[in-house]
Structures are given as C-alpha cells and as structure tokens.
C-alpha cells in the first residue's frame, strides 16, 4: 500500500507540474499577443463554408529574396508594417488568375479612402517563363493596386510552401508544362502574419469585409 501511495502522489505531483507548465506557456503567449494588440485567434477572418480553405495554413511565411516586376530586389521586409495581400499565379492561366487579379483589384478600388496602406502582390509560380517584364505587362491593368514578384523557381516554391500554397510543375505530353497552384488570396496583418484568405469563388461582399478586417488589425 505504501508503495502504491508513493506512486499515486508522484503521479499527482507530476500532473500538477505539467498543468502549471502548460498554464505558464499559454499565459506567456497571451501576453505577447496582448502586447501587440492583436486578436488571440490566429485566423479570425474565416467564415464557415469559405472556398479558400485555410485550415492548416502556417501563420508566418519564410524569408525570401526575389525580384519585383519592376526589376528591383524584394524581400520579406516589404510585407512588414502594412496589411498585405498575396496571390500566387502565372501568365499561362486563362481563367483563375486574371479573374482573381480583377476581383482583387476591383475590391481594392472599391475600398476607396478606406484602402489605407493596403498592398497586394501577384507572385508568379512559373518564373522560368514569367520574367519581370512579362509579369509587369500581365498585371499592367491592375498595376495601381497590385505589384508583381518573380525570381528563381526554387525560392518561389519555398515561399509558396511556407504559406501552405501548393505549387507543382506538371510536364505535359507535348513537352510543354503547366503549373498546378493554390488559388487562395492570402491576407496578412501588419506583422506579416496570416489572418485569412478568400478566393475568386467567394462572395465579393465577404471578401471585401475580410480586406477591411486586416486593415483594422
């Protein structure tokens, strides 16, 4: 019986230590969130039934070193301090990419003065064909709202993967290729953290509300 009691109390003691450790960790996370004045829920903008699934999307993307469509180098530093919208696509995309860019640009136009310092980027998942010049030309109707990014394939694949965006170059029978890619439009807060997503299938009214929410964060 004595041995049993010792084991029992040791187990209770261990459980208390574990609970205290968990509590301490959680409260540390809460206070760091509170200091930056952000909501504790990492994905506050998602609505049930959204086309753009964001279930397991990482909160932070990886650092990167790429080329902006205007020829200038660009890094993750460009995302800091401003609410940022990211969309991955390519110029061999006849429907989803132009429609998504048009939708995004129109939503930003419609924000009017509420637009604030919101910025948006189109990142090519086909940098081998999409040179900076090609990307710049492709986004030219939306250039007042959306900037282009391209670079080397490995870096772009790493960046896309870090945001949970699927990218896969698929060879076709005729020697050509296509690129399967995630079509979610990602919304980042001023700290460059993922806060929500929508895509071209979503109701523009809901998408617009989501844009306003990252502006308000």
């Amino acid at each position: 019986m004595k041995t049993f009691r010792i084991i029992l109390w040791s187990a209770v003691g261990l459980a208390v230590v574990v609970v205290l450790a968990l509590f301490w960790t959680t409260s540390q996370q809460r206070s760091s969130t509170a200091q930056t004045g952000l909501l504790s829920n990492p994905i506050p903008l998602e609505q049930p039934g959204d086309g753009a699934s964001s279930g397991n999307r990482p909160m932070n993307g990886s650092p990167f070193s790429l080329i902006e469509a205007n020829g200038e180098p660009i890094t993750e530093a460009a995302f800091a301090g401003r609410p940022t919208v990211l969309f991955f696509g390519f110029t061999y995309c006849p429907e989803i990419c132009p429609v998504s860019l048009y939708m995004l640009s129109t939503l930003i136009d419609d924000l009017g003065d509420e637009r604030g310092d919101l910025q948006a980027f189109f990142i090519s998942v086909d940098p081998e064909r999409d040179t900076p010049e090609v990307v710049q030309s492709y986004i030219s109707p939306f250039a007042h709202n959306i900037r282009g990014i391209t670079g080397d394939l490995a870096s772009i694949e790493a960046l896309a993967a870090s945001w949970g965006i699927f990218v896969e170059k698929v060879p076709l029978d005729d020697g050509d290729y296509t690129v399967d890619h995630g079509a979610s439009i990602l919304l980042l807060d001023r700290q460059g953290r993922f806060r929500g997503a929508f895509d071209h299938r979503d109701n523009p009214v809901i998408a617009s509300e989501k844009l306003k929410l990252i502006l308000a964060l």
Binding site: Y92, V135, S137
Partner: protein, 182 residues
C-alpha cells in the same frame, strides 16, 4: 521549285473550299433539319491583359446528330496553338489539363464549355483578346467537319457577370460534365 510551291497553295485552296462547303452543309442541316451536325452557340472569350500568354474560350456545342461526335482540333489565326482544357479546383488548387483525343459531344446532347470547367485555351497569342473585337476560330469535328465560329470578346467586368450567371446554372454545367469525363 514552282511545282513545290503551287501544290500546297492548291491544296490550301481546295481545303478552304472544302471547309466552306462543310461549314455551309453543317449549318444548313443544323438549322433546317436539326437532325445532323453540330450547332455552336454562345461563343465568347474574355479580354486578356497585354502580358497574358493565353486566353480562354467558352461555348456551347449541341449535337443534333444520331451519333456521337468529337471536337478534334481548333485553330485560330491569332493563336499558335489551341487546346481543349479541363479545369478543376481540388480544394484551393487549380488543376488544368489538356483533353486528350478530342472532346466528345454525345448524340442528341449539348456540351457547355464555361468558366469553372472546360474551356478552349488559345495559346501563343500574336495579339491579345480585346473587348468588343470578336475573333474567328475553326473547330474541326470528326463527323460534322469544320465550323467557323465567331467568339465575342467580353470585358473583364462583363465576363465576371457571365461567371455569376454560369454559377446560377450549375445543373446544366454538371449535366454536360457527366458526358465528356467518361
């Protein structure tokens, strides 16, 4: 050299003449008898941005014939290559693939190529699709022969309205999908 040059030209002329005959024949049958050939309706594309390498084309193909037909080739003067593509969304991932061995148009049925699904992919564009500037494409069918189709080009705004319109008619789109996915 001269014979080498004239032979293709003659061939081309004959080909053109034959195509025209086929087109006329198909149209006449389609309109007058509704028993043979395929009918094309609602052919449109959306404007492309200057840097776009490709443009999408949409249309409805109705087969009034007694046997299945296949769309085997598409050609357009401004496009180096035209393919029929499927487009599906797997979760949030866009998956686009060429349709191999032609697009089947079942007898007595219609196949609708519409946003969110199958489309014609106009590639290697020599000039962009400009709103309100229609273009022609020649569709070649296994049985119905060649048909010249005029595609209206819609502005982005108009095309968005058309997409919403398409969403409202899921039934007909799904119906057409059932057939050529077999």
């Amino acid at each position: 050299m001269k014979t080498n040059m004239t032979a293709p030209v003659t061939g081309l002329t004959m080909g053109l003449a034959m195509s025209l005959t086929l087109v006329t024949a198909a149209t006449a049958f389609g309109e007058d008898m509704h028993q043979h050939g395929v009918m094309i309706s609602d052919a449109w594309s959306r404007e492309t941005t200057p840097g776009a390498r490709v443009g999408g084309g949409y249309l409805t193909i109705t087969n009034h014939g007694m046997k299945d037909d296949r769309l085997v080739a598409v050609a357009a003067a401004h496009a180096g290559k035209v393919e029929v593509h499927t487009m599906t969304m797997k979760d949030d991932v866009v998956v686009m693939r060429p349709v191999e061995n032609g697009l089947t148009i079942p007898a007595g049925d219609a196949v609708k190529l519409a946003p969110g699904g199958e489309h014609l992919m106009f590639m290697k564009l020599s000039h962009p699709h400009v709103a309100d500037e229609p273009f022609e494409a020649t569709l070649s069918f296994e049985h119905a022969g060649e048909k010249v189709v005029v595609f209206d080009v819609l502005s982005m705004r108009e095309s968005m309205a058309r997409m919403v319109d398409t969403d409202d008619h899921h039934d007909s789109t799904d119906h057409s999908k059932e057939h050529h996915n077999q």
